[in-house]
């Protein structure tokens, strides 16, 4: 569904009116197109220590960015990166103010702010408090940025996935990821042979792929080189076949909530693949009702499709040899899983449950040939699921994020394809929000 308001305020007349009456002015976000430069302009890097590490400059340059060592009057920046991994006392935080404050106004539209920090580790109270402070800085800065620019925080425990994370966060692939922290840990994270085809040679399966976010995920995985199996209910088979034929994939009728689903899936994988590299648990349903009025079938079906199916299929895969080494599982959560939502106790249960599921499964997946499992929590994304919302609620919900607009299925898909790529091997057990820094749940 097209966002009429967004189109309107980006027309000359609409823009003038919106400015005069103080209406929100959502920007047209910069999204990834193959062949586009990674950023709209050059990059300036700063550091708490005053000296930017050569290894960081090398990684940012390798990502295709133009890193400037010196600044000249009137420079306009595609991205501002600040390495705050060395912060240890609250006084150290001043360096961040100093680096950004004079330069934020010269950030180009859809520019990127990235702060590198470290996760609190319990070793020292002052250090931990200071590290945690970065979170508040980035979240607040993200709300301050305009014209489609975003700010995110990379907590670097290990540099294994830093290069691949930089490529994702600087590019248009992260258009709708804003105000989020992400831990980059140790892991096996080889660079792909071809960065334009990071999933070449991989076999992927996406559940609930007949439409919406699932269909977009399947298309992006295929674009990135994977051979994709798209799965959905038999009833959705007509649309599913079209998705498969559009992306050159294979269609599988599978009800993920059926008790026989794990066994059916394993049998299929055994017969028609050499094993699975990527699994995306995307199938999901809503049956919204206030808890006071919720019927057992509304409760049970949501739990079965959105949470139990993921647990059962993961257990079956881990118990088989069909998930290949350095496998990647990505689960769909939702910002509702963080913030809750009126009328969604059942849905909220499952989406919070998924956050717990990936956190607790990380070790088991790491032990399975250095595999990973992560979740993506979309905010308000324009699909048939959200089209069911009443018009006024939907219009308001669309604006309730720092980017003042709904995300597109492709935004969720880009994050998933990155988490599914070899280079993201250092990210495990985490939930990444793709929500435009949503102010409430979705």
């Amino acid at each position: 569904m097209s966002d009429r308001y967004l189109n309107l305020v980006n027309s000359p007349l609409g823009s003038a009116v919106a400015t005069r009456v103080g209406l929100p002015k959502p920007a047209v976000l910069r999204r990834y197109k193959s062949g586009d430069p990674i950023l709209p302009g050059p990059v300036l890097i700063g550091a708490t220590t005053g000296r930017v590490k050569a290894s960081l400059i090398k990684l940012v340059t390798a990502a295709g960015a133009d890193v400037r060592a010196a600044e000249t009057e009137g420079d306009r920046w595609g991205a501002l990166i600040f390495d705050a991994t060395a912060v240890a006392t609250p006084a150290d935080l001043a360096g961040i103010r100093e680096f950004f404050s004079g330069r934020l106004r010269s950030l180009l539209p859809s520019g990127r702010v990235l702060v590198l920090g470290r996760a609190a580790d319990g070793a020292d109270i002052t250090v931990d408090a200071t590290r945690q402070a970065l979170d508040g800085i980035v979240r607040s800065l993200a709300k301050e940025l305009q014209r489609g620019s975003t700010a995110n925080l990379l907590l670097v425990e290990d540099e294994a996935s830093l290069g691949s994370a930089l490529r994702f966060f600087l590019s248009g692939k992260s258009a709708y990821v804003d105000g989020q922290p992400l831990v980059l840990g140790a892991g096996v994270a080889p660079a792909p042979k071809d960065w334009d085809q990071p999933l070449a040679g991989k076999t992927a399966l996406v559940t609930g792929a007949a439409r919406g976010i699932g269909a977009a995920i399947a298309a992006v995985l295929a674009r990135d080189g994977a051979r994709v199996i798209v799965a959905d209910l038999q009833q959705a088979g007509e649309a599913l076949a079209k998705v498969a034929n559009r992306i050159g994939g294979t269609a599988l009728h599978l009800d993920v909530a059926a008790p026989t689903a794990p066994e059916k899936l394993l049998t299929y994988l055994q017969a028609q693949t050499d094993g699975l590299d990527i699994l995306v648990h995307n199938a999901g349903i809503t049956r919204d009702k206030l808890l006071a009025n919720m019927k057992p079938e509304q409760w049970d079906s949501v739990i079965a499709v959105n949470l139990q199916s993921q647990l059962s299929i993961n257990a079956a895969l881990l118990g088989s040899s069909l998930l290949r080494d350095q496998g990647r599982v990505v689960c769909l959560s939702s910002t509702t899983g963080f913030s809750g939502n009126r009328g969604q106790t059942n849905y909220g249960a499952t989406k919070s449950g998924v956050i717990g599921l990936v956190r607790s499964s990380a070790a088991a997946f790491a032990a399975h040939g250095d595999s990973t499992i992560n979740a993506v929590a979309p905010g308000f994304i324009d699909t048939e699921m959200t089209a069911k919302m009443p018009l006024a609620t939907r219009e308001v919900a669309r604006r309730l994020s720092s980017l003042q607009q709904a995300g597109l299925p492709i935004d969720v898909a880009e994050a998933i394809s990155w988490l599914a790529s070899p280079g993201a091997g250092g990210v495990n057990g985490q939930t990444l929000r793709v929500c435009g820094q949503n102010l409430v749940g979705a």
Binding site: Q234, Q235, G237, E238, A241, K242, A244, N245, L252, K264
Partner: protein
């Protein structure tokens, strides 16, 4: 040295199939053409097996009721599909035997090494059926077209008569007898003494079995929904013999015995249906290279025909040709009728199946007409049409063969191996039969 070409043969594998749910005539597919439905069936198969852009050895399919614009129906469907446009295709037409005949044709080519992969299938619509201009009108129009001058044309047009403007709608009747298929089968039913109860029981079982097969997900990888239909529209899961016994007979009411003696109803006869089905066949090597399964192999096929126009009223019934084809097929393969794990006998009418079985049990008939010393004998009825057949699913003429071949291959595969017999009767007194094995 003179070079000699040696011909090696191999067995064709059945990799899988796809069909769209079958719709009742003038139901969900009333505005879908044969080409729309066949293309959808092919595209569903392509999606299931990841064949986008693939050049398949050949596609053979056909339709019984065909518009003249569909002279190249299968090739046009291929061009509209996601298969490689360089995939050759041709149409086949052998009445209700079309679907199975296409499978035999391409299996033979695979066996001879002429091709490595093929799609066989069929489609029919009784909703979007071709309407022909009246024969008189057609002749006048052709005369007009041939006339050279305007006065000659006008003269030719004076040949027009008002009754010639009434179009001819295709009929389900035999050109040489003027009898509909149902009326023909009613004669056979009466000659063989097939009871109403037995027919109703077979019809109820067909619905029960088909519903159960859907419920356990048997069709999950055989059927792709089309135009909002997800299951066969004719399926009545709650049908009982009790309910069926209340229906009035529709065929055979003018035979000796009258309405009282007539046994064939709308429920124990197949309804007019729209739909399409396709099957993917290949060599074992092709299947392995594409990492695709082999469900079963195509063993052999046979076709027979009876002289229903001049022949014996009992022994040469219009739909009795499979009765003659099967013993020939068994003899050639050194098998008995009991050497099978599954029997798929197309339910054109419940009584067709029952007559076929009865004839094979009849020592006198087997001796006199099949030239056998002993009757073929009876079969274990628990192995007959175990996942339902045409009475429940419906019967879009040319699409039935593909439905049966794909389903039977999957049954054999699920069973961990075995052998299945397919028997399909066709208009014109023909019958097409085949054996699958794994």
């Amino acid at each position: 040295m003179e070079k000699k070409v040696t011909v090696k043969t191999r067995r064709a594998a059945i990799v899988g199939g796809n069909r769209i749910p079958f719709a009742r005539s003038n139901g969900k597919y009333s505005h879908a053409s044969n080409q729309d439905m066949l293309t959808a069936a092919i595209d569903g198969l392509v999606a299931r097996f990841g064949l986008q852009g693939e050049q398949v050895g050949e596609v053979a399919a056909g339709a019984v009721l065909k518009h003249s614009r569909d002279f190249n129906l299968t090739r046009e469907s291929v061009l509209g599909s996601t298969l490689a446009p360089t995939t050759p295709a041709y149409d086949v037409q052998q009445a209700c035997g079309t679907g199975l005949e296409t499978a035999i044709l391409v299996a033979n080519k695979i066996a001879l090494g002429q091709i490595d992969s093929a799609i066989a299938g069929g489609v029919d619509t009784t909703s979007d059926a071709p309407i022909a201009v009246n024969e008189g009108l057609r002749e006048v129009l052709l005369d007009v077209n041939r006339a050279k001058s305007v006065p000659d044309r006008l003269k030719a047009l004076t040949g027009l008569r008002p009754n010639q403007l009434v179009p001819t709608i295709p009929q389900n009747s035999e050109p040489r007898t003027g009898l509909s298929m149902g009326e023909h089968q009613a004669i056979t039913t009466q000659e063989w003494g097939i009871s109403r109860e037995a027919q109703d029981e077979l019809a109820a079982a067909s619905h029960r079995h088909l519903a159960a097969a859907y419920d356990r997900g048997f069709f999950d990888d055989l059927v792709t929904p089309f135009l909002g239909l997800t299951r066969d529209q004719n399926l009545r899961p709650d049908t009982t013999v009790e309910k069926l016994s209340k229906l009035a007979p529709v065929f055979g009411t003018r035979l000796p015995g009258g309405v009282e003696g007539a046994t064939m109803t709308a429920a124990n006869s197949t309804p007019l249906t729209d739909g399409a089905s396709v099957v993917l066949l290949a060599s074992d090597e092709w299947a392995a290279e594409h990492k695709l399964p082999v469900l079963a192999h195509f063993v052999d096929g046979e076709t027979a025909a009876v002289d229903y126009v001049h022949g014996d009223r009992k022994a040469d019934g219009l739909l009795m040709a499979p009765v003659y084809a099967v013993p020939r097929l068994l003899a050639r393969n050194g098998l008995t009728l009991q050497d099978f794990d599954f029997y798929e006998i197309h339910e054109a009418f419940a009584s067709t199946v029952l007559t076929t079985l009865k004839a094979w049990e009849d020592a006198e008939f087997c001796k006199q007409y099949l030239g056998l010393d002993a009757p073929l004998g009876s079969i274990d009825r628990a192995k007959l049409n175990v996942n339902g057949s045409s009475l429940a699913a419906g019967h879009p003429f040319a699409a039935t063969g593909g439905r049966i071949v794909a389903s039977l291959a999957k049954m054999i595969h699920e069973n961990g191996g075995g052998r299945g017999l397919i028997s399909i009767c066709a208009a014109g007194g023909q019958g097409v039969v085949a054996i699958l094995e794994a």
